[in-house]
């Protein structure tokens, strides 16, 4: 339990650095986790080289889903869209540094699914994006 709710998760859940909205934005996408109704919207702005200059998320859900979104947006600052497309589930879990069972994994993966669906310009954030 200490592991699952390690300090950084609680901290970012309570005090997110990237919560908000970007208007205008270059990319925006939102979707739900059907298992528990968690919701995430992510807005991105890109610089002249097509790299992420600003990112923001909004939504509601458990500490895992919301803190992960915050940490994810921090990690993509300055990254190209191709680099984001190449991000995997393992990259995200490495960043979180916690072990998750199958149900909570869905919470953690929601923000990466939403981010990648937005970057790919897809209509839906499917599980396939993070396998």
């Amino acid at each position: 339990m200490d592991d699952l709710y390690r300090e950084i998760i609680i901290d970012r859940y309570k005090n997110p650095l990237y919560r908000g909205a970007l208007d205008p934005h270059d990319i925006s996408f939102e979707d739900d986790n059907p298992l528990c109704g968690d919701h995430i919207r992510i807005d991105l702005r890109l610089d002249g080289n097509g790299k992420v200059s600003e990112a923001a998320f909004d939504g509601h859900g458990c500490a895992i889903s919301q803190a992960t979104a915050d940490l994810l947006l921090e990690s993509i600052q300055g990254k190209s869209l191709d680099e984001i497309k190449a991000m995997t589930r393992d990259d995200l879990l490495e960043m979180l540094g916690i072990e998750l069972g199958p149900v909570r994994l869905k919470c953690a993966l929601l923000s990466l699914k939403v981010l990648k669906a937005g970057v790919y310009g897809l209509g839906e954030a499917s599980d396939e994006l993070v396998e």
Binding site: P34, L35, C36, E94, E99, P102, V103, R104, L105
Partner: protein
Amino acid sequence: MYYGVQKPPKPFVLHSGSRAQNRVLLNNPTQMNSQSSPRSFNVDRIREDFPILKREVRPGVPLVYLDSAATSQKPLHVIEEMDRYYRNTNANIHRGIHTLAEEATADYEKARESVARFIGAKSPRQVIFTRNATESINLVSNTWGRKNLNSGDVVILTEMEHHANLVPWQMLAAEKNLKLEFIPVTEDGFLDLSALPALLALEPKLVAFTHMSNVLGTINPAQEIIRQAKAAGAVTLLDGAQSVPHFSVNVQDLDVDFMVFSGHKMCGPTGIGVLYGRQDLLEKMPPFMGGGDMIKRVYLRTFTPNELPHKFEAGTPAIAEAVGLGAAVAYLENFDMEAIHAHEKKLVIYALDQLAEIPGVKVIGPTAEHKGGVIAFTLDNIHPHDISQILDEDGVAIRAGHHCAMPLHDKLKLVSTARASFYMYTTEAEIDILARAIYKTKKIFSI
């Protein structure tokens, strides 16, 4: 290595494993490793795995179970895994956060992965759990069929289909004014493939057929029929209820669009079946039943459906049964499926030789080389119900009737047949008992 023998249940370990690896720990430690080398095929040892085969039907009369085409018996591993699930894990899946819910979810999804691997599916999300093969076909007819088939469209079936692959299409045909056409069956029990080009020239939207007849035992050239059907632009559906349990069936090699089969004919429990589908087709299909788990978001007046495979699994599914099917797959994976097939082939040759010596026995269907472990026969003019009743006195379990294939019996001008069917645990000694019991039947009827 075989793990089906009694072992103390190990606790489910959720938080272990290397960080570098996938963190979703779906491995059930009590299940066996599919990577291990195949167990050698020894029917006496296999019989030890099936507790029911030790049963006497009545005192002094051992069971001779020759009805595996109806349902197979269950190895101890399957019985124990379902028992373990209910004793140790039982919880509802997919929305719980507590340990039991996590473990139950992992067990259920692990079973899906096992089935996907067993049939060579690219992805577990192409494996939809249903109640049985029948429900799987009804799922396709109600969703894909209702969406894509329109008045005047042609659907091709065969004359040797089980009712499960006839009636759903008849129901849809009545609703949508479809034309049903049939690949004929020859007198010696084969599909008459010379008729196929003319049928395909009708530009059918669907060609749905059985991989192996549950009456004739005929193994149809599925790959060739699918190739021709797809070249003609048809979607293909294969009824694998009698094939998947008995020999190696790979959906990618077959290049089939839909395949259906039941868990209970392949060492698994009743109440669980499978629909395999091509992913792009499944994604475009509307949901089947509505309810929990099949939704992504629900509003008061509308909903958005969930992703595959959950889109087609409304409500609490048969979780323990899925665990049982996963255990059945793990059990079968101990063996080379071709060794099971070879064993059954040997039994068919032996049985056909034995039956050929009994005057009045007429076997329906092709010769042994084209046949799986199913032998339907008639005995003089004795009704199959009477044959079955007399055989039962000697503990011999066979099936009697039309075996859910009335049109095939009509075609062959038979009212009903007696059917003996074999599996991996069937022995030549049991076929000897069958032959003796058939002689006894003749004697009772003084023929």
